[in-house]
Assembly symmetry: C2
Homo-oligomer: 254 residues x 2
DNA sequence: GAGTATGCTTCCGCTGAGCGAAAGGGTGAG
DNA sequence: CTCACCCTTTCGCTCAGCGGAAGCATACTC
């Protein structure tokens, strides 16, 4: 999941973390022995630690005997300042935007060389998309990603440009082409994609700037088709982005 | 925060958890010595453990030297099945509801003798309210709380009725009166409050039932004034609640 | 400037929390 | 019945963890 220094390590703390690290979006519930295997610890050790975690509420044992991340950790996670200031501030604007367009609305930040989706709104009328809150996607195939990439520091941009993996037939994999697009993003103030991440989905996105003018996040919208009313969407996005930027608290801790 | 067995304990795991437990909504960032104090551990121990947690990304050290819950724990928390099925399913309906009313929309479940807010939508037009995602509020003073209380098991209801703390001048503190209201909730299928939690805010709420008919959550809406269009709101809520109930996955793990 | 307070980091020898092998128990398949 | 799998408990050895103490750094006072 994270940087996980892999090796079971010798400290108890690392064992505890290794056990928790065994959970990921594809493994939300694990049996004791699965936990032991995935964390690289002996069954005995796993058993002892897990029992204690469960007693504390960090893990919960389900009916079938499998363990899942418990409510205590859920609470704890919500305390993380992962853009909580940004999310709180942006929330009403996102809803306004959703109300006006009924499309899927995304709020994202850059996390290394990927896009981290901080919030997402989707109604019934919206195009189905892959992103979820907390998920990370490649930058070069998403609207918000292109915006964040265009404003990212040089090294990041180079790193991403050298790793343009294909996702759909429309994904841009030529560094030169993408680079030119990023230039246009900077000039025009918005980015767009057409079925580059998933077929049948296009997106537009704009940057969100704090009071110092620095780009701190991106605001995007996903629709089935762009040709019809891109200007309208871009305007709506820009208004919302301005509003969010203006309401942003002074110094947001990363 | 949680059941926290308080005593610093003798196992390393408990020390790790004690340190993490030092964080709560009112203490989102703590210095090393604050962590030591709040967890009841020696500064040395705290230092060692915290360093390791930070290395793993479970905690993050901010500019000022204070520690906050890190992104790793945020990710982990999102994996908790805390109504994640419910939340996912309900999300589009909540947005539909928000779009139709532009009021604050709440999705809540019962957590012991309190209401746990699982999701919340609020736009600009909405009344400011105290609730946040993840926050817990007393049951007797909120719309969703009254619904959940009305359908709660006998012991829970009795426990709550014996502890009716006053919050505003309009909070209901007489067990008999509340009890009669709960009866009406069962008969009429919705609950309401008038400035019982915060002045200037009224709410209506309805139960969400799974396919077996069991009440698994409550859906509520907060508005400045009820008199005008309560019937309309109740209808909208009921439609959404029905929809959510029908779309609910088979067996949601608590 | 010295003096004091507060917070963070490093060092080091003692010791008990943690370790895993092994054995025991429960369940379900063949 | 055996076999396979998973979970739980026991028990002696030992090394990870412990905290006192001392070393730094910053900041505020007199």
């Amino acid at each position: 999941m994270a940087g996980n220094t892999a090796q079971a390590g010798t400290t108890v703390t690392s064992r505890v973390l290794a056990i928790l690290d065994a959970f990921d979006p594809n493994h939300r519930q694990l049996s004791l022995s699965e936990l032991a295997r995935r964390s690289g610890l002996s069954l005995t050790t796993t058993h002892r630690v897990v029992a204690e975690l469960a007693a504390w509420g960090a893990l919960t044992r389900q009916a079938g005997g499998k363990y899942v991340v418990g409510r205590w950790l859920w609470d704890l996670g919500l305390l993380a300042p992962v853009q909580s200031g940004l999310r709180e501030t942006a929330s009403p604007f996102l809803h306004d935007l959703y109300g006006a367009t009924l499309a899927t609305v995304h709020l994202a930040v850059r996390d290394g060389t990927e896009v981290l989706y901080v919030d997402r709104l989707a109604g019934h009328a919206s195009v189905p998309v892959v992103s979820q809150v907390g998920s990370r996607l490649p930058m070069h195939a998403t609207g918000v990603g292109k915006v964040l990439l265009a404003y990212a520091p040089e090294p990041v941009r180079l790193a991403v440009l050298s790793q343009l993996t294909r996702i759909t037939a429309h994904t841009i994999t030529q560094p030169g082409l993408l680079s030119r697009q990023l230039g246009r993003v900077l000039r025009e103030g918005f980015a767009q994609t057409s079925e580059e991440m998933s077929l049948g989905a296009c997106s537009v996105a704009v940057p969100i700037r704090d009071r110092t003018g620095a780009v701190v996040a991106a605001l995007g919208i996903v629709v089935p088709d762009l040709r019809r009313d891109r200007p309208r969407l871009v305007s709506a996005l820009q208004v919302a982005a301005q509003g969010i930027g203006r309401s942003l608290p002074e110094a947001a801790s990363s």
